[in-house]
Assembly symmetry: C2
Homo-oligomer: 237 residues x 2
């Protein structure tokens, strides 16, 4: 699960991370949305005798999960921006107030890269000649922080949230279309496991992992979660 | 939500990310575990008249969510290691097979940092003199990849999973200790919102964010998810 913010500029033609961030968010939301509502509905199917109850609980989960993921993701994105801005202000201040300390840090980073003392002397002089460039160097190479795109967080949160809701409705649809919870469970498991295999396959392909293994991992996680929920719910019904 | 893998070595004394990775995982799991099971139980409380049903559905969700989060997190950690190893092998191959292309990439990265052509000439020679160091430079500074700790992923997954389960039992405990779903909902909301405020406060403090605002954001997300689940479940009951 590489979130889209991990995508990087990479000049290799065989780069695997070129698929759009939105497509990645859709697949993440869909596959997470398929798993937990499917498992919850499966769990309840072994414990209650009304499909309407399974549907009610399933929809409550889909709404709760979708809001928690969407709003949580949006707020986490805002926090990332605030964190970046706070670190940026601190680096600007430190470059002004303790330039010798900061210069020593640049030198240390270049030494870690493997540059000789002589080359470092020239390099430190050049990198610290311009405060903007200096701060940018510290942010990117000391702290490993890239400026977050302020439009990305809300867009990504909305996409994941919506995809989660769509994903969650897939396992529940089987209970709408059948008479009893056990019939619903049978069809829900068939539909959902097929979807998890397909999404696991595409998710792995998008991140350059072996797709068949990715498909099996995702379906296996869903199946295990559903089986565990089924046995626990049955104990308590 | 800064996952613990984002923690970095930083020599500043005022560094905010020194809190242990495990403590961060506990807080992440607890706060996520509080939110969705709370909202699901709240949603069902408006739709059914049996506390036992709310508890059964809630426990099924806790088990499903805990497995999905734990196993999902473990598999994502394994994928990260495989991704790192695959990229490492590729860089080793490219340094061998197309050294001139790779040397041009090092030069380009150093130019982006702000080094002059003269300094770059010496720097490229030094950085590419040792293949191990060269590959390490490409991995860290071109691809932004650090070697993942193979022990971290399973530990982190187990911690988050367990914390999620503990977090989920907090809102459900109110339904064990009361007679009707509406009494359960009242106490569940009180206990859970207090916990979300406390965990939101500590989570923000650990990542150096304003803690009061962090507390309100987390409790607000939980309250909104619960309110939405309540109204949707009531429509379908």
């Amino acid at each position: 699960m590489l979130p889209s913010s991990h995508a990087h500029q990479h000049p290799h033609p065989e780069d695997h991370l070129t698929s759009s961030a939105m497509l990645q968010d859709i697949v993440i939301g869909l596959s997470d949305g398929l798993t937990v509502p499917f498992a919850l509905a499966a769990g309840l199917s072994g414990a209650v005798d009304s499909s309407a109850l399974v549907i009610t609980a399933g929809l409550a989960e889909v709404v709760a999960g979708s809001i928690a993921m969407g709003l949580g993701g949006y707020l986490a994105g805002r926090t990332e921006i605030e964190h970046y801005d706070a670190e940026l202000a601190r680096e600007h201040r430190e470059v002004q107030e303790v330039p010798e300390t900061e210069r020593a840090e640049v030198d240390e980073l270049l030494a870690e890269m493997g540059l000789s003392a002589a080359t470092r002397e020239a390099a430190v002089r050049e990198l610290t000649s311009n405060p903007e460039q200096w701060v940018h160097f510290m942010m990117k190479y000391e702290l490993g922080l890239e400026k977050p795109d302020p439009k990305q967080a809300p867009k990504s949160a909305a996409t994941i949230s919506l995809a989660y809701a769509v994903g969650g409705l897939i396992p529940l649809s089987a209970y709408f279309l059948t008479e009893t919870p056990s019939e619903g469970l049978l069809w829900s498991a068939i539909i959902t496991l097929v979807c998890l295999l397909v999404f696991g396959y595409f998710k792995s392909r998008m991140t350059g992992q072996p797709p068949v293994w990715g498909a099996l991992k995702m379906a296996g996680t869903g199946a295990l979660a559903a089986a565990a929920a089924f046995f626990v719910a049955r104990q308590f019904s």
